[in-house]
């Protein structure tokens, strides 16, 4: 979880110190490109300012709590690279099992939980020692990984087994399997910690799991105008900080769905690029950025009007987007 820097003293210090500010809240946008083997860095006004060469096939990315380091899972070299956000260079890497795809930090930032899609394992990695402390067998092709907000539970999807494995963090054991739709991909936990949203790419659904009971409480489907249900392949998700809107990329349907969380039957659709996957929000919630895997670009969306503003070519097969703000 990201800390919020709210003291005026710190804000003032940041405003006055461009050197220090480089490591904090630069507003820079980081896009991993699976086939480009690089992280493309864009300024807040969407100019490409750097291309960081990484290990092969960079995918999921997360900042550490104070945003000094960016971690990126590199699927074809079996490592998580660590990038210094100030210098925009890879400074270290953590070895993982084969083909790391998606990972999550424990809330206390002592552990990384990473899905290894080639050998069907959820790995627990101790961050201080960079050693694997547990390997939890999963169904084939594990992908999405996320913590419960209290940090006691890790959830991981298996794309082939069509289920969410509920893993107890303390014992590193699967405590429950929840059958969801076809090819479950990614997760979001609502800001109140009550709901786990799961995108089911091939059954065109999103399952909502009640985290307290671990039962499915809702199943959502989406259909932008002019598309057929089978075109809708939901993958990436993001929720606004106030929990009022859920953003879901619809893959081959080339749209972003925006669900009104108060009236969940109310959905708006925003046209984006080809095979929309990852989505991220700026901290002020004014802008959403969607990575389009087949058109090699990102789409900038104004959240007030829900209109796409522009698309920017970034590199080969954009996978994930994170924003340093």
């Amino acid at each position: 979880m990201k800390k919020l820097f709210t003291t005026t003293a710190l804000s003032l210090a940041l405003a006055l110190s461009p050197v220090l500010a480089a490591a904090f809240e630069t507003g820079q946008i980081f896009v991993s490109t699976e086939r480009g083997n690089e992280i493309v860095v864009l300024s807040p006004d969407y100019e490409i300012v750097a291309r960081i060469e990484t290990s092969r096939r960079p995918r999921d990315m997360h900042f550490n709590a104070d945003h000094t380091l960016l971690y990126v899972a590199c699927g074809d070299d079996d490592v998580i690279d660590i990038i210094d956000v100030a210098t925009l260079e890879v400074i270290d890497s953590i070895p993982t099992g084969p083909s790391p795809e998606v990972f999550a930090f424990s809330p206390d930032e002592t552990q990384i939980f990473v899905s290894n899609e080639e050998d069907s394992v959820l790995e627990f990695i101790d961050l201080a020692t960079k050693t694997v402390t547990a390997r939890v067998p999963t169904g084939a092709e594990p992908e999405g990984v996320i913590n419960s907000l209290d940090g006691t539970t890790v959830f991981v999807t298996s794309e082939v087994a069509d289920m969410v494995h509920v893993v107890d963090r303390a014992t590193a054991r699967v405590t429950k399997n929840i059958i969801v739709g076809t090819r479950p991909r990614r997760f979001v936990v609502t800001p109140d910690g009550a709901e786990l949203w799961v995108s089911d790419e091939l059954s065109s659904e999103v399952h909502v799991i009640d985290i307290a009971t671990l039962e499915i409480k809702e199943v959502h489907t989406f259909l932008p105008p002019g598309f057929r249900p089978e075109d809708v392949t939901p993958v990436g998700m993001e929720v606004t900080a106030d929990g009022s809107k859920m953003l879901i990329t619809l893959g081959r349907a080339n749209h972003l769905a925006v669900v009104d969380m108060a009236d969940r039957s109310s959905v708006e659709y925003v046209l984006v690029g080809s095979r929309a996957w990852a989505v991220a929000l700026t901290a002020d919630q004014s802008t959403a950025i969607v990575a389009n895997g087949l058109s090699d670009d990102i789409t900038i969306i104004d959240m007030a009007t829900l209109r796409p503003l522009q698309s920017i070519a970034v590199g080969r097969t954009p996978h994930s987007v994170v924003i340093d703000d």
């Binding site: 169904g139 084939a140 069509d162 289920m163 089978e230």
Partner: protein, 394 residues
């Protein structure tokens, strides 16, 4: 002929280790799945090249079926079923029918067949009264679909699906003048005939269909010399219908006009290709390669998806009767993931699995059919193969 199948034993042996920690496991329902293949299947002979050159990759579809069992361990466990596969090899149609009969008697509701088309038909005729659904994984003949056996599904692509894929690609590329070279094997003529129907549907023109022969005598030079065979006319592309492949492999780079060669060589149409690198396909291929030390083929995929579909049905169908299971498999409710980017299910009219097809060279997937832009009233996958409106049961 009974065969102890090492992979199945291995899968069964792995199960306890990969099971998640749970409260005392309840009793699981045993689900027997049969697999029947032909001993020394002539379709899979590898060293058919002169001087016993090994040309095509090895094919053992039973290994695809075995991988599906392992892939689905967590699903089976969650559904409270314990699937086991029993694989039989038969020397002829009578033995294959006997194997199906025995598997049915042992409780198998589904048997996957990896047999040539005429044997599939013979087995279906001989076992039609038994409570068993046959899934034809590897015989592509359209007449098998049109035979409308009530208890048969087809998990591998039909000839027509393959030829429709070529036709869509040719139309999209603007290669609309086609020279066809046809061999002497009866299957070559079928291939050319089905291609003609596919080309007709998209208004593509056959410049000429010319028979070729492997005989090298000068009198037969019009049929054995590739430059003569491909000379005297203009065309955009050469299509070689050569099931055996011994002639086809000498055609690329040898044509009178510098034109691409497709069909049995060059660009081929497959249900699966090792170089497919989207939609999770690489993970499926690398699991297969790790387990069996070879690249996954169309036939392996067809057996894999057949078994995956059976287990999916046991998990999600309203009831576990054979009628309910097959009804589910032939409905839009089944959203089977074949790692080709869209969900799959069996067509109601002919029991054929809908699927995208891969147009591939030896080292890359060049295009995926349905080609973008081909639309259909209900499901774009139904632009490949005989559609409901034109389908007639014989």
């Amino acid at each position: 002929m009974r065969r102890a199948f090492a992979i199945v034993v291995l899968v069964a042996g792995l199960m306890p280790a990969t099971l998640p920690a749970q409260e005392a496991a309840p009793e699981k329902e045993a689900v027997l799945i049969g697999h029947v293949s032909l001993l020394d299947d002539p379709r899979y002979v590898q060293d058919w090249g002169y001087a016993r050159l090994v040309v095509p990759p090895p094919i053992r579809s039973v290994e695809g079926a075995a991988m599906a069992l392992e892939d689905m361990v967590f699903v089976s466990d969650a559904a409270g079923i314990a699937p086991v596969m029993e694989a039989r090899e038969a020397a002829d149609a009578a033995e294959a029918a006997a194997a199906v009969t025995e598997l049915s008697a042992a409780g198998a509701a589904f048997v996957v067949l990896d047999l040539p088309g005429d044997m599939v038909a013979a087995v279906a005729e001989a076992t039609g009264d038994l409570p068993v659904t046959l899934i034809n994984a590897t015989a592509p003949e359209d007449w098998l679909r049109a035979a409308c056996y009530p208890s048969m599904l087809h998990s591998g692509p039909s000839d027509r699906m393959q030829m429709d894929s070529f036709a869509q690609y040719l139309r999209a590329m603007g290669w609309d003048e086609i020279l066809i070279l046809v061999g002497e094997d009866p299957r070559d003529a079928v291939m050319a005939e089905v291609l003609q129907a596919s080309l007709d549907r998209l208004r593509l023109a056959v410049v000429e269909a010319r028979p070729f022969t492997l005989a090298a005598d000068p009198e037969a030079r019009e049929g054995n010399n590739v430059r003569l065979l491909t000379g005297g006319v203009d065309y955009d592309v050469v299509f070689v219908a050569d099931t055996r492949g011994e002639f086809a492999r000498y055609v690329p780079y040898a044509t009178q006009l510098p034109r691409p060669v497709i069909g049995s060589v060059g660009m081929t149409v497959q249900a699966w290709h090792w170089a497919m690198a989207r939609d999770g396909a690489t993970q499926v291929s690398s699991r297969f390669d790790r387990q069996f030390g070879r690249r996954m083929t169309t036939q392996d995929w067809a057996a894999w998806i057949a078994v995956k579909g059976i287990i999916t049905a046991y998990t999600r169908a309203p009831e576990r009767t054979r009628e309910s299971l097959t009804g589910f498999m032939r409905s839009a409710a089944m959203r089977l993931d074949g790692s080709k980017g869209v969900t799959l299910n069996y067509r109601t009219w002919d029991g054929q699995l809908r699927m995208p097809m891969l147009l591939a060279s030896s080292e890359a997937v060049i295009a995926i059919a349905p080609i973008e832009g081909y639309l259909h009233a209900t499901n774009t996958l139904d632009t490949l193969g005989v559609d409901e409106a034109e389908f007639v049961c014989n």
